[in-house]
């Protein structure tokens, strides 16, 4: 495990009181760093909305986002079990889990995931969501990886809950709703960009995120401006088929 990246990540996830803090960006850092630091291929994150609904707010790839959505649509899967119980849930080989999750297990395998670990985002009795880690190959998750993954989830949860409650207890709900709406804006922008450039949603998202970084803009802000038409993201179509900056650099099964 990259110790320097790990300590940088903890600093990043603690730093939630900065001006222009963006919950969506913050949670994307959590999923992306999970993939970079741990021996996993993908990560996804569900957060609870006061409407009583779980929402997919961040994912390290489109495949991870889709499998998270699948859990919500089918009301079944490790992330939901984890959220409802507030306890970690894992499966070392989804091929053996058809009894537990008859719809989720085959769908996850079809998406290329064989092992899954779900970690609660929890502070005392309050569970606000769950972080899902996916691996392509079967086998138990490394205990050190699980510990670090839970520590990342904990730091993020405390960053969201604790820091804000010191200011005003209503702020988390305000920010959460803003974040959920930002998520919708980003999906709308992905659709518009995917159609304009003739690319898929995953590529559209990478493109959008790269554009935000290049312009030093917040992702949700740039997405809003692009959908509003006040900002034109004229991009050479199909210029970057595989934007790799946020992906794990090494081979899929190379331990880190």
């Amino acid at each position: 495990m990259d110790g320097e990246l790990l300590s940088d990540t903890f600093v990043e996830l603690t730093d939630t009181m900065v001006a222009g803090f963006d919950v969506i960006e913050f949670l994307h850092v959590l999923t992306d760093r999970s993939v970079q630091l741990l021996d996993v291929e993908a990560a996804g994150l569900l957060l609870a909305d006061p409407r009583g609904e779980l929402r997919v707010v961040a994912a390290s790839s489109e495949a991870a986002r889709l499998i998270e959505l699948f859990q919500l649509q089918n009301d079944q899967g490790p992330c939901l079990d984890c959220y409802r119980s507030g306890l970690p849930v894992h499966a070392a080989d989804l091929a053996a889990e058809a009894g537990r999750w008859p719809r989720f297990a085959p769908a996850a395998q079809q998406a290329g995931f064989t092992a899954v670990q779900a970690l609660p985002m929890r502070l005392r009795e309050q569970v606000i969501g769950a972080l899902n880690l996916f691996r392509a190959g079967p086998g138990a998750f490394d205990t050190a990886d699980v510990r670090v993954g839970q520590a990342l989830a904990d730091v993020a949860t405390i960053g969201l809950l604790h820091e804000r409650s010191m200011r005003r207890s209503e702020t988390l709900n305000e920010q959460l709703q803003t974040a959920l709406n930002s998520r919708v804006v980003i999906e709308q922008a992905k659709g518009k960009l995917a159609e304009r450039l003739g690319v898929d949603m995953d590529q559209a998202f990478s493109w959008l995120r790269d554009a935000a970084r290049a312009r030093n803009r917040r992702l949700s802000e740039l997405a809003q401006a692009f959908v509003d038409g006040t900002e034109t993201l004229i991009g050479p179509a199909r210029r970057r088929p595989q934007p790799g900056s946020w992906r794990k650099p090494s081979a899929p099964d190379g331990g880190s």
Binding site: D75, S165, E170, Q177, A223
Partner: protein, 263 residues
């Protein structure tokens, strides 16, 4: 420390029935006066459902979220809406700018005066002690603002907040639909209920974005056209959205100029 939010609802399956219950309250309000369901019904129903004193609702005009007043339940609500339109200051403009709710459980706290030096004292004088404003938005689509007030201090409970957000979702759809003559039913399933958006939200949002390009229209109209197409072809919105995202269905620009369609 976190005295904050009550433990969250564990059951995702609740959402649809909860959404149906809220829709039932809005529809019931409409039935009581015998007219078709409108945003005013959402405004009136939310007041009794979450135990606030009054509410107001304003529609967006252009990219301005707080445009003109559409509905109020009492004189204090009207005064609060008016004050903010006049002053350009208060929780409504802030909710519009931030894109998230602004929840103020006690206007007499110094933070309120610091944040809104003119509005806060004026609102207290008008008789409001707690004010909660909610932007009516679907991503980049801005429909307006819903405001609630109480004549006493106190937070919305976690359950009340969830309910208000569901009322706000319905109000947003009704406001957008109201712009389209004779199109109020689109997007509502059999029995007049809102379609289940929860599970297919992302595809609907992506498809809406794609339609802005396919049809060469703004995001609000793209959403209206998506729902109208689903309604006209008797298809669930989520299914249609998935087909559009998978590029199995494509909507061309309307051959008839859209101005002619609108009454």
């Amino acid at each position: 420390m976190t005295t904050a939010v009550a433990p969250l609802d564990g059951d995702v399956r609740m959402t649809l029935s909860r959404q149906s219950r809220i829709w039932g309250l809005v529809a019931g309000q409409a039935a009581s006066h015998g007219g078709p369901v409108s945003v005013s019904d959402a405004c009136a129903a939310v007041v009794t459902a979450v135990q606030v004193t009054g509410a107001w609702l304003s529609a967006a005009s252009g990219t301005e979220s707080a445009g003109h007043l559409i509905s109020v339940t009492d004189a204090v609500g009207e005064r609060l809406a008016e004050l903010q339109l006049t002053l350009g200051e208060g929780p409504s403009p802030d909710a519009a700018a931030d894109g998230g709710p602004v929840l103020t459980s006690d206007l007499s706290e110094t933070e309120a005066d610091r944040r809104w030096p003119v509005f806060a004292p004026a609102a207290r004088q008008a008789g409001a002690v707690a004010v909660f404003t909610f932007p009516l938005r679907i991503g980049a689509i801005r429909a307006g603002i819903m405001g609630l007030y109480r004549d006493r201090a106190g937070q919305l409970s976690h359950r009340q907040l969830g309910d208000v957000l569901l009322f706000a979702d319905i109000a947003a759809i009704l406001l957008i639909s109201a712009d389209q003559a004779g199109e109020t039913a689109a997007g509502f399933g059999p029995g007049g209920q809102p379609a289940d958006l929860a599970g297919h939200r992302a595809e609907i949002d992506q498809a809406t974005g794609m339609l802005t390009e396919q049809l060469g229209v703004g995001i609000t109209e793209a959403f209206i056209r998506l729902r109208a197409y689903a309604y006209a072809h008797d298809r669930p919105l989520g299914d249609l959205a998935r087909d559009i995202v998978a590029r199995r269905v494509r909507l061309g620009p309307d051959p008839v100029p859209s101005e002619d369609d609108q009454a």
